[in-house]
């Protein structure tokens, strides 16, 4: 492992300055005001580790993985070795049982390096979450335990070609046959689809079209090598190109009843419940991308000259940067709040949707503005910002589209006012 210093305008050295106010680490804490933005010593160390890893081992290889689309196995393995993956798995299963907040801190730093790599890692958390929240002892031991013993991937297998936002409209059928369930159907856009060791699968078990959503679906854990599973080609996407996204066909796939989560009909709630814990990290990822875009644009603006001065001295540019900074800071606070709420044991749906919606939107705006600051250079693949713009788009789509988030926020918000 070679240490690399100072690449492409981004200071990738051991410890970096950032808007995280690292400088305040040495100021004596005042008496508690009951509301704190201070990280614990341990959180700072986690963040430092993730930051260093991202700058030294992800940033240098990100562009190459983006061009080739190759799955970043060495980087993922290294992240696994350092304990930066599978953070939600509890200590009973070999994990570290980190809080969602701690996981978010790490995710933001990894995303700063490359969101393609970070999404591949994050998809593990999404796939595991239903098992973490709803699995029984045997299931947790079997499927979570193996993730901490070797660097394996898993996937959240819910979306279909005909059903994305409309989860209740999914058509994959699971029919009880003896002691097993036989599954037929098609899933699409499954992150880690071609690399997963097992999937969390949501399928319809009720034959009654009038059956309420809360009872019609069942959640399963499916081993990826089960006969009948056909993995589609790796999809070529706009951004996060090294992440593995595929269609998966289930043809008479047999799942033993031991792999049902909770029981028949409990699936929808489990699938949705996972989001309260995974949306904050996704928002954190979008924030990491935005921070990267801001850093790149800022460094460029302090070097590039136009009309006799560095372009940062032109108000048109400095105002752009100011608004980018504004958005990044707010997105960070939003995801931190949503993570903190769920760690406190409260229902955080409102905050999680706000964080995800906002971070996804601003990541796109900030990345686009970063390209603008770079001017012609920004449009070019020799400079890092066009990749950020391509990578950012998916944050408004996956893990609940920007529109679905607004539906949720409206519902939660109005719910507070209704009698």
């Amino acid at each position: 492992m070679t240490r690399i210093f100072d690449l492409s305008g981004v200071q990738t050295g051991l410890r970096l300055q950032s808007s995280q106010a690292a400088a305040s680490a040495n100021v004596a804490p005042k008496a508690s005001l009951g509301f704190s933005f201070e990280l614990t010593e341990q959180q700072k160390e986690f963040q430092e580790l993730a930051r260093r890893f991202a700058r030294e081992e992800i940033v240098p290889v990100a562009a190459a993985y983006d061009r080739s689309g190759e799955y970043p196995v060495p980087v993922i393995n290294r992240a696994w070795e350092l304990g930066l993956m599978n953070s939600h798995i509890g200590e009973d299963y070999g994990g570290m049982g980190l809080s969602i907040f701690d996981a978010c801190l790490i995710t933001e730093e990894l995303a700063y390096g490359c969101t393609g790599v970070q999404t591949a890692i994050e998809a593990n958390s999404l796939g595991q979450m239903p098992v973490i929240i709803a699995g029984n002892e045997a299931q947790k031991k079997k499927y979570l335990g193996r993730m901490t013993e070797e660097p394996l991937m898993c996937a959240y297998c819910v979306t279909e070609p005909g059903a994305g936002s409309d989860v209740a409209g999914l058509k994959t059928r699971a029919v009880k046959t003896g002691d097993d369930y036989v599954v037929n159907g098609q899933k699409m856009w499954i992150t880690n689809g071609g690399k997963a060791n097992w999937y969390f699968l949501l399928a319809r078990t009720s034959v009654d079209p009038k059956c309420p959503t809360s009872k019609a679906f069942t959640g399963f854990i499916v081993d990826a090598d089960t006969p009948g599973i056909q993995i589609g080609r790796k999809e070529l996407n706009m951004g996060q190109r090294c992440s593995d996204t595929r269609g998966i066909t289930f043809e008479d796939v047999r799942i033993p009843k031991e792999n049902v989560l909770i029981g028949e009909g409990a699936g929808f709630k489990i699938a949705m419940g996972a989001f309260d814990k995974t949306r904050p990290p996704v928002a954190a990822g979008a924030t990491g991308l935005a921070q990267r875009a801001l850093d790149e644009a800022t460094n460029y603006s302090l070097e590039r000259k136009a009309f006799g001065v560095v372009i940062a001295e032109h108000q048109a540019v400095s105002f752009l940067l100011a608004e980018m900074a504004l958005k990044v800071e707010l997105a960070r606070m939003a995801y931190q709040r949503s993570a903190w709420e769920v760690d406190m044991g409260r229902r955080n749906t409102y905050f999680a949707s706000i964080a995800k919606a906002y971070a996804g939107d601003i990541a796109n705006q900030v990345a686009s503005d970063a390209v603008q600051v770079f001017g012609g250079n920004g449009f070019n693949s020799d400079y890092p910002v066009e990749k950020l713009m391509r990578d950012a788009k998916i944050y408004q789509i996956y893990e609940g589209t920007a529109q679905i988030q607004r539906l949720i926020i409206a519902r939660e918000h109005l719910g507070k006012y209704k009698k």
Partner: protein, 254 residues
């Protein structure tokens, strides 16, 4: 042999930070500035931890001298694999005049107390750039020293050290107990893994006062003034070699 290695770690201003001189020219601004472990100390810790992993030694003890904040640096060493830490408490005021001689006295006293087989230090700190502590510590203990080490091989009763010197590489064999100072190419320090960061919280850091070790901290050195290096000035272009020689003579350079 005790199988115990003492590693000195210093908390310094992070190498990536732009250093600024205080307005009163008494020193550099440290308040609110990012600090981290001296890079050469990281290399020293890594070497010690590697020796332990190879089962050549039994225990790695990380030591730092200074006020409360140096505990962060000791924790980093613990997260990298050191077994326990020793914080030699020095008040903020005394820390301002703490130099290599005082630190060497402290390390020498600790090495005797802990019955250390080896002391591994960074070759120099990136703030003071003194490159004296390792050498002074060895002299105070009357131990052999292997400085600017780029390769270390620990064997029964002695150490083979490859040193980076002006002419190239020099290999020496010295008896233990000994003092080694780490140079850049000795190794590549590991990241502390997340589980190790968490485990480090359970490792012990003992607090010791210099007086307990019989060390006097008074320094005979006084910093008179700190200035920034002169601003780089524009060069002058000359037309011919004669002009060049003429200008150099004028400037008193030749």
């Amino acid at each position: 042999m005790s199988g115990r290695v003492l590693v000195g770690v210093k908390r310094v201003i992070d190498y990536a930070v732009k250093i600024r001189v205080k307005p009163d020219h008494s020193g550099v601004v440290t308040e609110g500035v990012k600090h981290s472990m001296n890079p050469f100390c990281e290399i020293a810790v890594e070497e010690a931890v590697k020796m332990k992993e190879k089962k050549l030694i039994k225990e790695v003890v990380a030591v730092s001298c200074g006020p409360q904040q140096v505990q962060e640096t000791i924790r980093t060493a613990l997260a990298m694999g050191a077994d326990r830490g020793i914080h030699v408490e020095v008040s903020a005021k005394e820390y301002e005049s703490l130099g290599p001689l005082q630190v060497s006295k402290i390390l020498a006293a600790l090495a005797k107390k802990e019955e250390a087989q080896l002391i591994i230090l960074g070759k120099q700190a990136i703030d003071g750039d003194c490159n004296q502590t390792g050498q002074m510590t060895a002299a105070l203990l009357d131990w052999p020293q292997g400085t600017f080490a780029s390769e270390v091989t620990l064997e029964a009763g002695h150490v083979k050290v490859v040193r980076e010197i002006d002419g190239g590489l020099e290999t020496i064999k010295i008896n233990t107990p000994a003092v080694l100072t780490a140079d850049l190419r000795l190794n590549t320090p590991r990241y502390a893994t997340l589980p190790n960061i968490m485990k480090a919280k359970k490792k012990k850091i003992a607090n010791v006062k210099p007086a307990d070790l019989g060390v006097e901290l008074a320094s005979k050195l006084q910093v008179l003034r700190v200035d920034e290096p002169p601003q780089r000035e524009a060069g002058v272009k000359v037309e011919s070699v004669d002009d060049l020689v003429g200008k150099l003579k004028e400037a008193g350079r030749i």
